[in-house]
Amino acid sequence: MAIKRVTIKDHSAEANLFARRSFIAMLLVCVMMILIISNLYYLQVSKFDDYQTRSNGNRIKVLPVAPNRGLIYDRNGILLAENRPVFSLELIPEEIDDLDSTLAELTTLLNIEEDEIADFKTNMQRVRRFKPVSLRNRLSNTDVALFSASQHKFPGVSIEARLARHYPFGSALTHALGYVARINKKDLQKLNEAGQEANYAATHDIGKLGIEKYHEELLHGEVGYQEVEINSKGRIIRTLNFQPPKPGKDLVLNLDVKMQLEIQSVLADTRGSVVALDAKTGGVLALYSNPSYDPNYFVHGISSKRYSKLLQSTDRPLINRATQGQYPPASTVKPHLALAGLEEGVIDSETRLFDNGRYQLKNVSHVWRDWIPWGHGWVDVKKSVEVSCDFFFYDLAYHLGIDRINESMTEFGFGDYTGIDIYEESDGNMPSRGWKKARYNEPWYIGDTISVGIGQSYWTATPLQLAKSINTLINKGRRIVPQVLRGQMINGETVLDPLKELQPIPVKNIENWNLVLSSMYGVIHEPHGTARAAFVDVAYSPAGKTGTAQVVSIAQDAKYDAEKLAEKHRDNAMYVGFAPFDDPQISVAVALENAGGGSSQAAPIARKVMDFYFKDKQLELVKTNPDDNPTHIQQ
């Protein structure tokens, strides 16, 4: 465009106009600056607290710190459960872009096995989102080095170092001590219900069995907190504040690990269990169930292959036979029944019967046979216990009746939980009329009562119940609850837990108790005693009772032939006993499955256990004959 206009510029007017406009512009600048400043004032002064909180919320994270689990010692201070540092390879699936290729690369790097990948995938389903899932639990030093060198290639994969439980004695203590394993959803639910979720925020494992489970609260401790500064990528820059966790209590058990090991080696391949209690405190000196298994596999996540092998084994190693094995107590309960008869006045020390091997009731065709086909001849109560005469106890049971038997055997703890500090326990069965009605909708027959007289019929008991009942017997009705936990280790000193006791059984006549106990002494020391052979030349004056329990009932008049019966149908061998007779220190219950006779199989095991117990004891063991000095044990 061609604008060719001649205009005379009024410079001063233009300058004035420009100055005015500049001034207005400056005013506008000021207004806008004030706008900015007031907004900043709002952010930095009015809302300062808000933004400071949010800024801190950005950078400060409170991380829970797991407390160290309390250690567990045996009664002699030997460490049974310790915490060892372990390195595990942890993956957070949500942070990994291509899980399959990452797994493939890790497999080539660390030789990950198919099992491990399979287990990882199962675990992935179980774990909460954004929580690490472990691929390999115990990394070797080589693994750690290999992975660390190429860690940058694996986002979302890391090595986690933590303390993990280790059980140096492996399978020797599994059923008593139990084990810990990774907290699963079910555990979480329980923790939530108990309001313990926060306390377990950093905890990896929880007690799953035995003492580890029962005393979880003592062992766990209290969570600590670490306040850390993180950057936008979540990496920890520094620790701002640290509230240390309170470690769990160190526990001391009544168990003697050396005795456990002895029992384990003595039992060898026999299925069965041994319980040894401190006769004075009820402390569980030994509690071993055979076969056992290594708990350490569970701590690190047992492979499904190994687990299903344990689960499917016909020997059923996962069962705690000492507390869950329910066996007919057989003749081992004859002392208790004898005492019931004496206390109830059904019999006295003078009562004699002629045992011809065949017990019959008037108008009943059934014949109850003694274990000796021709019978024991004339027997009193003491001899009946010593020779384990069935005939005498058939008759005693008949006269006592099921109601009185049930009542007094319940007092000894049969048919009820012992109260041991292990959750895996069965209550056994002490049959009664009501029970049979409820269970089978059948009336109680007199024949049932007679079988109960020799600890058969529907009567089942656990080895622990038997040992506890022996303790009650030798303590003259004092009922101490067996406990595995002895106390806590505080500053290197064992602080004992108080004993747990139930109301004692009322004693009608102490002589009855002494008589029964001396009959148990006779089982070993009388020439006709059933356990005499097993305890030849014994130094610590033991007393006891053998038992041979039928696993399957044998048809009338059929002969028991161990060789012909399938192994699973052979008799269970039982033994209960204590020592020394005049001042009992230990009571023992042995139950061996399908092993045969109590006197030939169970009693020798009990002897070995007691031999071991008394081997180290520098005690003045006085051989005492109760007939010579009957008042001695009354004190």
């Binding site: 300058a15 500049s22 806008m32 400043i37 801190n56 950005n58």
Partner: protein, 372 residues
């Protein structure tokens, strides 16, 4: 006059090389503040500082160079400069290089450069040249023509899309018209027109990401981890700085990398976090000083072209400040405008100091002219 008259000899030496010391002092202080903040925002990276110092050196050199060119030359070059610029913008749209989701660069084989940067100076020069040919205040017709000079490059740049730059260019042209004395009724009308144009922009011109920015600006908390993240973290940084700030290198939002674009567009948030409201007032004082000096230069300029150009450059400089601070503190939507002379970055620094070079030329040459 802000210029000190205590040392007339020294003053004359600077005048001879066309340096306005009053202005230079302000710019250097601001650059120093920038370096200090970049050092903190960039994670104490000394190499970052070195690169920025080199850029500042180059930019200062360009400023010095431009200060030597006679005002008359600028006046004559304006139209060619402008036409070349517009042609290059068209070229960018046709064969430009795409980067960061926008087509802004021209690849000249050796260097890539953004023609839009040239337009930041070419537009006010063109409009000032055109308007100053007539008596002020300009007539309606002239203003309309002037607007056309502004709108064409603005739209071309908005199309790239580069909202921040087109905003700066539009305002630089509008400032010329405003300072030239455009009537208030017309100003009101244009304001209304622009308001009416806003929905058209929204539906036809704005890209999805730009719309998102506006939506985020309206309610940043709606998407705290996505597009709202920048502005939320930025406000947290500013707010948590409080009155006195967390201290240099102590800003947790920046040091722990919660803030995005820490050393570039969002450096103001770092500054606010570490130096607090007092620091900001100080920073604003420096900006105010530079703007006052700039407007003084404009008022003292002898002819209308120089006045209008100097005024526009100064006020556009303020627009940078306002838009950047506004967007970082959540007053305005996030558009890519750096905090002038503080933010890390080369291109805008050179353009800005080129503008100040022209200001210095205006400031120092008029003396010489009047003496002749």
């Amino acid at each position: 006059m802000l210029r000190t008259k205590l040392e007339p000899n020294k003053q004359s030496i600077f005048t001879k090389v066309h340096i306005d010391v009053t202005l230079l002092v302000g710019l250097l202080v601001l650059m120093a503040v920038g370096l200090v903040t970049i050092y903190s925002a960039g994670g104490q990276d000394i190499e970052l500082i070195q690169r920025q110092v080199i850029r500042l050196g180059v930019a200062l050199f360009v400023m010095l160079l431009l200060a030597q060119i006679p005002i008359l030359a600028y006046q004559r070059m304006s139209i060619y400069f402008y036409i070349a610029g517009v042609l290059m913008l068209v070229a960018v749209l046709l064969f430009g290089v795409t980067g960061k989701g926008a087509q802004r660069w021209l690849d000249l084989g050796v260097v890539r450069f953004q023609p839009s940067e040239i337009m930041k100076l070419a537009v006010p020069m063109m409009v000032a040249w055109y308007i100053s040919r007539f008596n002020l205040p300009p007539k309606l017709w002239n203003i309309c023509i002037g607007f056309v000079f502004v709108v064409v490059p603005t739209l071309l740049i908005a199309k790239q899309p580069d909202l921040g730059t087109s905003l700066l260019i539009a305002s630089s042209g509008v400032f010329v018209l405003f300072l030239a004395g455009m009537s208030w009724s017309l100003i009101l009308m244009v304001t209304c027109l622009v308001s009416a144009f806003a929905p058209v922009m929204w539906f036809f011109l704005m890209k999805e990401y730009q719309k998102q920015r506006v939506l985020t600006f309206i309610n940043p908390e709606s998407d705290p981890l996505g597009s709202g993240y920048h502005i939320i973290q930025s406000k947290i940084a500013i707010g948590s700085g409080g009155v006195s700030g967390k201290g240099w290198l102590q800003g947790t939002q920046s040091q722990l990398e919660f803030l995005p674009e820490r050393h570039t567009d969002f450096i103001f948030a770092v500054f606010s976090e570490e130096f607090g409201l007092f620091g900001i007032l100080g920073l604003l004082a420096i900006y105010c000083y530079i703007i006052v000096v700039g407007l003084m230069i404009a008022m003292r300029a002898q002819d209308a072209f120089a006045k209008l150009l100097a005024g526009s450059i100064t006020l556009t400089f303020f627009v940078y400040v306002f838009v950047n601070m506004g967007m970082v503190s959540g007053l305005l939507p996030v558009v890519g405008v750096p905090l002038p002379l503080v933010s890390y970055g080369g291109t805008s620094m050179v353009t800005l100091l080129a503008g100040f070079g022209i200001l210095m030329a205006i400031s120092t040459q008029k003396r010489l002219l009047s003496r002749q």
